[in-house]
C-alpha cells in the first residue's frame, strides 16, 4: 500500500479544513423557512387531505416540515427558493382565497400532475420517499375530483335541442390577443385532427390543424413541431345527454390558438398561445405573461410537442380512464 508523503498529507488536511470552514461559514447565510399563519386551509375529505399533506404540504403550504438536512447550506438555499416558488403557485394554507371554480380547476391540474409523475418532483421524492404517491392514492384523488364535477342531469323527456349558428352580427374589428395573435376563422377550412370531450369542465371540442400541422402528424415530426404549424381548438358547452345517449355541442365557449414560431415564442416552448372567449371573442390575458400559464400546463403534453390532443394509437401498458 502506498503511503501519502508528508507534504501531500498536509495539502489534504489543509483542503479539508478549508472546505469544513467554508461549510461552517455558509450556515450563517442559510435562509430561514418560516411558516406564516394558515388562513384558509384546504378542507376536503380526510383520505384526500392526508395525501396532500404527505405529498405536497412541505412545499405547497404554510405547514412546511423542513428536515434537518434541508436546513444545511447550500442545500437550504435551493429548498427555500423551491418552497417560495411552490407557495406562489399553489398554497393549500390559503385555499379559501381561490374561487370555487379555481379550486376545482386546480384540483384537476394537481391530479394530472401527480398522475403523470411530475409532482411531487422526482428529485424531491428521491430524498423524501414518504412524499411518494401510490397508485391507490392517485385513484382516490381521481374519484374525488370526478365526484366534485357532476355531469348535467340527463334529459328525460325530449331529445336535446341542437344549437344553430348565431345570426350574423354587425362586422367588427378583429380581436387580437395581447401577444399579437389575432383571431382568424380560416381554420374552418382545415382538417379536424381530433375531437375531444371533457368531463372535468363540461365542454366538447374540435381540434383543427393547418396543412403544416397535418403533414407534421403524417411524417411524425412533432418533437418539435415545424414553424408555421397552427392548431385551433374550438370549444362548446355540452348539452345534457339525450334519449339516445348522445351529447351534442351547445353554446360556443371559446377558441384556443397555438401558433408555432420557435423564435418569436421561444419563452413559451416555441408556441404562441391565445384564447378568444364567448361569441364576442374576448381575448384572454391582461399581461403578456398570461402565455406562461398556458405553457406551464401544456408541459404535461411535452411528449406530444406540447399539444394535448392529437390522434394516437393506444399502446399496451397505458391506462386510459374512460368515464
Amino acid at each position: 500500500m502506498k503511503r501519502a508523503t508528508p507534504s501531500r498529507s498536509r495539502t489534504l488536511l489543509l483542503a479539508g479544513s478549508l472546505v469544513a470552514v467554508t461549510l461552517l461559514l455558509l450556515q450563517f447565510t442559510s435562509p430561514e423557512i418560516s411558516n406564516p399563519p394558515v388562513t384558509g386551509p384546504f378542507a376536503g375529505p380526510d383520505s384526500v387531505t392526508t395525501i396532500f399533506q404527505h405529498a405536497c404540504y412541505d412545499c405547497h403550504s404554510n405547514e412546511s416540515n423542513i428536515r434537518w438536512y434541508d436546513k444545511i447550506a447550500p442545500v437550504s438555499w435551493k429548498v427555500a427558493a423551491d418552497v417560495a416558488e411552490a407557495r406562489e403557485h399553489l398554497n393549500f394554507s390559503e385555499w379559501d382565497s381561490l374561487s370555487r371554480g379555481e379550486q376545482v380547476s386546480k384540483l384537476w391540474y394537481i391530479v394530472n400532475m401527480v398522475d403523470q409523475g411530475r409532482m411531487p418532483l422526482p428529485s424531491y421524492t428521491a430524498v423524501h420517499p414518504s412524499a411518494r404517491v401510490t397508485d391507490d392514492e392517485i385513484n382516490t384523488l381521481k374519484r374525488y375530483v370526478t365526484a366534485l364535477t357532476s355531469p348535467p342531469k340527463p334529459a328525460t323527456t325530449t331529445p336535446a335541442t341542437h344549437a344553430t349558428s348565431s345570426p350574423a352580427a354587425s362586422p367588427r374589428t378583429t380581436p387580437t390577443s395581447i401577444n399579437g395573435i389575432a383571431y382568424f376563422d380560416d381554420y374552418k377550412n382545415w382538417k379536424v385532427i381530433a375531437t375531444t370531450n371533457r368531463f372535468d369542465n363540461g365542454t366538447m371540442r374540435l381540434i383543427y390543424g393547418n396543412d403544416i400541422a397535418v403533414k407534421a402528424l403524417e411524417k411524425n415530426t412533432i418533437n418539435p413541431w415545424p414553424d408555421g404549424a397552427k392548431i385551433v381548438k374550438v370549444v362548446w358547452d355540452k348539452q345534457p345527454v339525450d334519449s339516445l345517449g348522445n351529447v351534442h355541442a351547445g353554446k360556443f365557449s371559446n377558441a384556443q390558438f397555438m401558433i408555432r414560431d420557435s423564435k418569436k415564442f421561444r419563452e413559451t416552448g416555441g408556441w404562441g398561445f391565445a384564447r378568444f372567449s364567448t361569441p364576442q371573442l374576448i381575448p384572454y390575458g391582461k399581461a403578456i405573461t398570461f402565455a406562461v400559464e398556458c405553457y406551464e400546463c401544456h408541459k404535461l403534453a411535452s411528449s406530444n410537442g406540447l399539444v394535448f390532443d392529437i390522434p394516437t394509437k393506444e399502446r399496451s401498458g397505458l391506462q386510459y380512464s374512460i368515464r
Binding site: H162, S165, T174, N197, D200, W236, L244
Partner: protein, 150 residues
C-alpha cells in the same frame, strides 16, 4: 463485446428506452378528410364509447343551418364515428381513437314529399336500422361559431 463496453452502453440503452416509451404512436389515419365536405356538428356517446363528427357538402351545411326540415336534391352527408378513449395526457377528458364507421347519405330526388335518399356504410358497420340513422343525421343542426368579423 467486453464487459466494459456493455457497461458503457447500459446508460445509453436505458435513456433510449425511456425516450421511446414517452413518445406517442401517432395515428394520422384517424384524421378524416374528403374534398368538398365541411363540418356540420359533433356529438359523443359515453354509453357506446364513441364520438362522431357530421360532415356535409355545401347544400347539406346550408340545410343543417336552416330551421326548415326539408331536404334538397344533391345534399350529401358523412357521419364519421370514432371509438372513444380516455385522453392519455389529461385525466378528465376523452379523445377519439380509430375510425369505427362512416355513414353516407345522399339526397337523390326532392320532388316528392318524401325525398329519395341513398344511405350506405362504406367503412365499418352500423347495427341500427338505416331509417333511424337517417332520422338522427337529418335531425342534427349546425354548430354555433362566432361570426361577423370584418
Amino acid at each position: 463485446m467486453t464487459i466494459r463496453t456493455i457497461l458503457l452502453l447500459v446508460p445509453f440503452i436505458a435513456l433510449q428506452a425511456c425516450g421511446s416509451s414517452d413518445r406517442p404512436v401517432l395515428a394520422p389515419e384517424a384524421i378524416y378528410a374528403e374534398p368538398g365536405m365541411s363540418i356540420i356538428t359533433t356529438l359523443f356517446n359515453d354509453s357506446a364509447q364513441t364520438t362522431s363528427v357530421l360532415y356535409g357538402n355545401a347544400l347539406a351545411v346550408a340545410s343543417a343551418q336552416d330551421t326548415a326540415s326539408s331536404h334538397r336534391s344533391g345534399e350529401q352527408y358523412r357521419l364519421v364515428t370514432w371509438r372513444q378513449k380516455g385522453n392519455p395526457l389529461w385525466f378528465g377528458g376523452n379523445i377519439n381513437d380509430s375510425i369505427q364507421a362512416v355513414e353516407r347519405i345522399m339526397v337523390l330526388d326532392d320532388h316528392d314529399s318524401e325525398p329519395a335518399i341513398r344511405y350506405d356504410v362504406p367503412v365499418g358497420t352500423v347495427t341500427d336500422k338505416p331509417g333511424d340513422r337517417i332520422k338522427l343525421i337529418f335531425g342534427l343542426k349546425g354548430l354555433e361559431f362566432p361570426v361577423g368579423l370584418e
